[in-house]
């Protein structure tokens, strides 16, 4: 054990020293995981070596008589025990009397021996070095190396901010649509839209996240694409055309042509009732015409599809022959030109076919019912009437589907409006936001209009499209002309607008150059303006529109009168936006303006 401890104490400084050095090195440098593993491996190997050496010492046979000599030394016996043991090992024949006496002497001493004290297991002095190194290692372990690491700044959360007024607008829209709709799909889409508005209101969304959600919703709503609507309308038109051939189904055909599906369904039900009433039963020829019309109507989708398919086949055959001609010398150019035309026709037909297929798919139930009706009318008028009734039900379903899609389209439109609003707000950073806020304030007739107009008019002097451009607009030509001062963005209340706000265009110059990105004529430097006028009829009942507007500016955008005036004006504005040539950048502002001055509850 002494040898074990001594050997261990001799070797222990090696792994300890290495560990301290390696740990210190690893702490002050940035070692790769591989290097760290290697260092650990070497440390473990040195530890194992130390232990191995100590175990080897333990396993080694101790020197002969080492134990008895230690006993002799401890007890001051001058080798009497060792000599006795050594002499005892001799053959008896070789032992002398003195040898025997020495053995007996040694044996007599055995009882006095205290091996534990004679051969203590002292802690080797070499452990002092290990102790020092162990302390050093602990020191290194506790030693904290402060490394300054520049961490990337935490991602800052900048919520998307929308004006309370806008939030209210979109929330109102969602509420209105919810009240109106009973289609589960539409309601789910509206709920998602409302949740988006609520999240923006609660400032839970960042700009990127909000746009992501808007895009998702937009993509979902856009699924019911226009192509479906077109295909359905195409199918219904064909249906109306065929039904028109029968005098009995004329009303229904008329309604279908005008896309009044509810009226068409009602007309079909009336027709069914008429067929059921025995006293008012139509003549046989009328019935036959009706049956023929209904039968053709039930087939028209399939026939159109077949016709398109037939035409496609023809065009494909033509294409093949043109390709052959193209390879013939002298015919290549002509064939090439015809091939291009053929290709275009084919592509068009491709779209027609797609549309026809969709129409057939959407109206398949209605077609089936009409086919049933045509079949039954030939046998039993009563049964045919029932079938027509069921066809009316199918038409109701189509109408419902269309209504749902209409709602979705409206929601999509509102969503795009919101997106555009947010896009405009964020387009040019804080400055743009301020501009939009100013625009909002002035649109609602907020105070400080003159001051704002002056400030924002300056940039407009260059480009000619500043918000504070001093263009005098006679907004509505009514029996009494109302001049709205303070620039195009709403002059505001003259009383609250301040002196400058009451002076149209004061301190503001028109731009001298024209922005190529804008549609329409360049702003004339001379300050010439185009008057916009709208005619209205004074019925003599209630307040004049100008008075209503003035009152709304003073009291707020409430009241039935204001709502009526607003609807009138918005309708005119929408028509102008639809038909007149208006620079694209301005359409947004016009719509935004009407959003801001919308009637409130």
């Amino acid at each position: 054990m002494r040898a074990f401890l001594r050997r261990f104490a001799l070797w222990l400084p090696l792994p300890l020293g290495y560990s301290a050095a390696a740990l210190a090195l690893l702490k002050v440098t940035t070692a790769s995981p591989g290097a760290q593993r290697a260092a650990l491996g070497v440390g473990l190997a040195l530890g194992a070596l130390t232990l191995g050496m100590a175990v080897h010492a333990l396993a080694r046979r101790p020197a002969r008589w080492a134990g008895s000599l230690a006993l002799d030394e401890h007890h001051g016996l001058s080798d009497r025990i060792t000599s006795a043991l050594a002499l005892l090992g001799r053959p008896e024949s070789e032992r002398t009397a003195l040898s025997e006496a020495a053995i007996e002497d040694g044996l007599a001493l055995v009882e006095r021996l205290d091996p534990r004290r004679a051969v203590p297991v002292p802690i080797p002095r070499e452990f002092a070095v290990s102790l020092l190194l162990g302390g050093l290692l602990l020191g290194v372990v506790w030693f904290e190396v402060r490394v300054t690491r520049l961490l990337p700044p935490p991602p800052s959360f900048e919520p998307l901010v929308m004006a309370a007024d806008d939030l209210e607008l979109f929330s109102d829209i969602a509420q209105r649509m919810t009240d109106k709709s009973d289609d589960p799909d539409s309601l789910a889409a509206i709920r998602r839209f409302n949740a988006l508005v609520e999240d923006i209101a609660a400032r839970r969304l960042e700009r990127r996240e909000a746009f992501e959600r808007m895009s998702e919703l937009e993509a979902e709503l856009a699924k019911s694409a226009d192509i479906d609507r077109e295909a359905r309308e195409l199918g219904l038109e064909g249906l109306a055309r065929e039904l028109q051939r029968s005098g009995l189904a004329k009303t229904a055909a008329q309604a279908l042509e005008e896309k009044r599906l509810a009226d068409a369904a009602k007309a079909l039900r009336e027709l069914a009732d008429k067929l059921k009433k025995k006293g008012q039963a139509p003549s046989k020829s009328e019935l036959e015409r009706l049956r023929g019309a209904v039968e053709r109507a039930s087939r028209q989708s399939g026939e159109r599809l077949a016709a398109v398919e037939q035409r496609r086949r023809e065009l494909n055959d033509e294409k093949q022959s043109l390709l052959k001609r193209k390879s013939q010398p002298g015919q290549a150019d002509k064939a090439e030109a015809k091939l291009g035309e053929n290709q275009r026709k084919l592509e068009r037909l491709e779209r027609d076919q797609q549309r026809a297929e969709r129409a057939a798919r959407q109206l398949s139930d209605l077609d089936r019912q009409l086919a049933e009706a045509a079949k039954d009318l030939a046998k039993d008028t009563q049964q045919g009437a029932e079938d027509i009734n069921r066809s009316a039900d199918e038409l109701d379903k189509v109408e419902k589907r269309e209504m749902s899609e209409k709602e979705k389209r409206e929601l999509l439109e509102r969503l795009r409006e919101m997106k555009e609003l947010l896009r405009q707000q964020g387009q040019a950073g804080q400055e743009r936001m301020k501009q939009m806020r100013r625009f909002g304030q002035r649109a609602r007739g907020g105070g400080g209009g003159g001051d704002e107009g002056e400030q924002s008019g300056k940039p407009g002097s260059k480009s000619g499209r500043g918000l504070g451009q001093s263009t005098r607009i006679e907004q509505v030509q009514v029996p009494r002309i109302v001049q709205v001062p303070g620039g195009s963005a709403g002059g505001g209340d003259p009383k609250s607008g301040g002196d400058k706000g009451n002076e149209p265009g004061s301190g503001v110059q028109a731009g001298s150059t024209h922005d190529d990105h804008l549609a329409g004529d360049a702003t004339t430097p001379k300050g010439e303006t185009h008057d916009v006028s709208a005619a209205a009829v004074d019925t003599g009942q209630g307040s004049a529109s100008a008075e209503v507007i003035h009152g709304a500016a003073e009291r707020g955008f409430v009241g039935k009168a204001y709502r009526d005036v607003y609807v009138d004006y918005q309708t005119v504005a929408e028509q102008s936006l639809e038909h007149d040539q208006i620079p694209p950048g301005y359409r947004f502002y016009v719509r935004r303006y009407f959003q801001l001055i919308r009637p409130r509850e």
Partner: protein, 333 residues
């Protein structure tokens, strides 16, 4: 195999006699316990001792006293440069018998005694010194064609002065090796000097009595030879001897540096015999490592020849032996 009780009794008898001897010597010789024990060890081992010390330290007195208490014949030879071998060995002389005949008769020299004191042995020429060699080694003397045996016990105690080297003939290595021990006689301490003065300057004369006979001495010598030595003790003595040789096994660096030649096998013989004597002195039945250690200095100091560097550095062999004893462990794998 004899009875261990007998052996025990022999040892007890030995101790008694040694005790009596020491007591009697102590009546004349003041202090010098180590020297007395050393001389006794040499005598009990049947060997010879070289005593080194300045004149006047009682060397002759010690030897004479020893001879008296043991009842042995004692002679003293004062070695001088003109001392001839015949002066110490003896010579053949022409003698006239009673009937008038002339015969050659051998007249024994001073070596024919039990204890011979060769005073200042290094003052005689090597020729005379070597004449002593045969007597010391062989315990016999050859004169002419006749060999004369020396009576046992036979012990030569030579002295030499370590200071006066002028006109001396240092003993050759071979002759030095024949001395069992080289004992250094120290200068007495103050207390010892008081006692010496008291004894030697007063009226009272100190007489010693014989406490041993020649036979006792011989039986004691025989007992010494019978003392067993365990292998580990013998092994230790051998390792010590090996370490006295430069670059020998276990030799300390000082030995490698300062020693020219290590001790001869006679050195280890001397150590073991002395160990046996010491064991008996202490009443033990077997020699021990401690006994070897105690015998190492007197047995080896004159057998280790220093190198030029060692002499130049003034290294003492005792120091080197101390290094050896300190470096060799009691047991070996």
């Amino acid at each position: 195999m004899t009875d261990p009780d007998t052996a025990r009794r022999d040892v007890e008898e030995f101790l008694k006699k040694i005790g009596a001897l020491r007591e009697e010597i102590g009546r004349v010789i003041v202090g010098n316990r180590e020297v007395i024990d050393g001389v006794l060890t040499c005598m009990l081992s049947g060997s010879h001792a070289l005593l080194e010390g300045v004149p006047g330290l009682g060397k002759t007195m010690l030897v004479r006293t020893l001879a008296q208490v043991m009842g042995l014949e004692f002679t003293r030879i004062q070695f001088t440069p003109d001392l001839m071998p015949a002066d110490i060995i003896g010579t053949v002389v022409l003698d006239e018998t009673a009937d008038g005949k002339h015969v050659f008769e051998f007249r024994k020299g001073p070596v024919f005694a039990n204890i011979v004191l060769a005073d200042e042995v290094n003052r005689a020429t090597p020729k005379t010194q070597s004449a002593l060699l045969e007597a010391m080694q062989e315990h016999r003397v050859t004169v002419g064609r006749t060999t004369h045996a020396l009576e046992e016990p036979y012990c030569v105690l030579a002295t030499q002065n370590p200071l006066e080297m002028e006109g001396t003939y240092p003993l050759p290595e071979a002759q030095l090796d024949r001395f069992f021990f080289k004992l250094e006689v120290p200068f007495p301490s103050r207390e010892e000097l008081h006692t010496i003065l008291e004894r030697t300057t007063s009226e009272a004369e100190t007489h010693v009595t014989q406490v041993l006979t020649r036979e006792d001495m011989l039986s004691m010598q025989a007992l010494v030879r019978r003392v067993p030595v365990a292998r580990h003790v013998r092994d230790y003595a051998i390792r010590v001897l090996q370490a006295t040789h430069p670059h020998g096994e276990g030799a300390p660096s000082a030995v490698n540096r300062f020693v020219r030649t290590g001790a001869s096998p006679r050195g280890v013989q001397a150590m073991l015999l002395a160990a046996k004597v010491r064991a008996l002195f202490e009443g033990r039945f077997a020699a021990a490592i401690d006994d070897v250690k105690a015998a190492a200095r007197p047995a080896l100091r004159h057998r280790m020849l220093l190198s030029f560097e060692g002499e130049a550095e003034g290294v003492r062999p005792d120091t080197l032996i101390g290094d050896i004893l300190g470096s060799i462990p009691s047991s070996k794998d």
